[in-house]
Amino acid sequence: MKTTGTPREPLAPYEPARQGWNKRDATHLLWRTQYGTTFEEIEQAADAGLEKTLDRLLTPQKESADFQVSDQFLRQNATDTGNIDNLKAWWLYRMLNSANPLVEKMSLFWHNHFAPSNAKVRSVEHMLAQNDRFRGEAVGSFRKLLNGMTRDVAMLIWLDGNANRKRHANENFAREVMELFSLGEGHYTEQDIAQAARAFTGWHVREREFWFNKRQHDDDQKTVLGRTGNFDGDDIIEMCLAQPACPRFLAGKLLRAFVMSKPDKPLVEQLAGRIRAHDFQMTPILRELFRSQLFFSNAERKVLIKSPLNLELGTYRALGQRPNLSSTAKLLAELGQDVFEPLTVKGWEGGRLWVNSATMLQRANFAAEITGGTRLGEIADSVTVATTHGLNASVDIVRHYIDLLLARDISAQSEKQLTNYLNEADGGRGPRSRGLIHLVMSMPEYQLV
């Protein structure tokens, strides 16, 4: 693969007309902004072009009748049973099948940003309400979302809101607002946290709802981030959003989630400037990011290690599978990404931490299971797939799966070996075709997106 390094104007628009918008570009965009992509979606995006594809991703699309029925069944069942495993299955269903996949991906981004866990909240009702809040502002306003979090019941339980009282301010919530939600370490003092905590006193939960407990609210003067006044929680949020560190903090996270593992300072600064210019409105920010020269530069393709969700759901989507969602959720937990139950308040750090000797083995086993077992559901036979797409020659079938699953060139020798396998390996055409998918998924390149 050619590498051209970081573009001179990284956030300037990518000009596909000049450089040639093609299926490879479309595949790159779709794998990063959805959980995998189907061959049909790639063709559709390649035909439609970058702008129209971004329109589809960033504007609300009507969900299918099938989706709406299943979504309702799973959601109702999760609340009826109060079982978090059922809520996990519901969300996985949405991630995989929604006509608005970027909304689901951004919902996960916010879930990871705020990182509450049901291990402490212990309520499907509250986790679901919070998840709906993430979804409602997934590509909306970060300002609104951050403000909403201060009154979110799951968040208040997670960060001990009820323990934050006038005479004994609990710093948990204020600390996380500054350290993990808006500014990042090094951009506030311990004094700022102590004073901000006073502004959130009395922001409690009563009868499963947010309740402003006036008697426990400290309405004396506080000094936070260099300003003095009779601040409440809303004021603290606005003061954090006004800090230069806030858009920088968000920019770094967005770049690491969607573009590159180690963004440099000037790049973070540039994106932070755009975040400020758009006043934390995510749709225009994401549009600029996903149509940037940086996003499509060769240097930034296939450089992110797939998260367990990207790996599992991406595979299902690419291979047209309707998986067993309960088994999928369990495997995700084993691979280190247990949705609704992140391990720490910092969420999943991801990147290099996704892979170690244990999870690499499990990732390999996942490839074996999905192509040879039934525990996670069965994939479509590649012979059938080939027929559907009018592919007859083995070399074309191999090329189809390389494009779909790897979205990059591989060496001529590897390609030839795969073709030989499809022609000559033991067993019938069916098992060989599954074996082909297994081999492609076993290549190190398949772990990257």
Partner: protein, 171 residues
């Protein structure tokens, strides 16, 4: 289940209480309401059942409130069921004259499929969600449940019994 009443009754009650306690611990772990054991007399038969300590009000209660352990003894036959209404139906069934015929069997377990089908019918949404989680689409899930109900209603009851005599064992 058929057994000698005097020898089996206490053991059965102990089993039922232990079973209920385990379910209560599980409910606590999952943040659900616990239940307490109560009893009622229905057609001269004492039914032990679990009652939710604080059952929420509302027209559409979570599905778990449809299930709770119940047990009763009718003559030499023990009943364990998942709801009070089902338990009452089974008491009615076992009190019918035909059911009093003494069977020369060591163990006799009867599955009353009709009432079970009624319970499943009332919880079709739950079952359909379960099928969708396993990868079925809504239409397939609906067909799966319809087929299951049809089979249950067709058989009405299943009877599993064992008999040991001399060196032989029959199932």
């Amino acid at each position: 289940m058929r057994a000698k009443p005097k020898e089996g009754a206490e053991l059965f009650q102990l089993f039922f209480q232990t079973f209920s306690s385990i379910l209560n611990i599980q409910a606590g772990q999952q943040g659900r309401q616990p239940w307490i054991l109560e009893s009622e007399t229905y057609k001269d038969t004492k039914i032990l059942f679990g009652r939710y300590l604080q059952k929420p009000s509302g027209k559409r209660l979570p599905l778990v409130f449809n299930f709770r352990p119940d047990s009763a003894r009718v003559g030499d036959q023990f009943i364990i069921s998942s709801s009070l209404s089902l338990c009452r139906q089974l008491v009615d069934e076992l009190k019918k004259p035909a059911s009093k015929k003494r069977l020369e069997k060591n163990l006799n377990v009867q599955f009353q499929l009709g009432p079970f089908a009624d319970i499943l019918e009332a919880n079709k949404d739950f079952l359909q969600a379960q099928r969708i989680r396993k990868g079925r689409n809504p239409q397939q899930a609906q067909q799966d449940i319809a087929l299951l109900l049809k089979v249950l209603r067709y058989f009405q009851a299943l009877d599993l019994s064992t008999r040991a005599s001399g060196d032989s064992f029959q199932t």
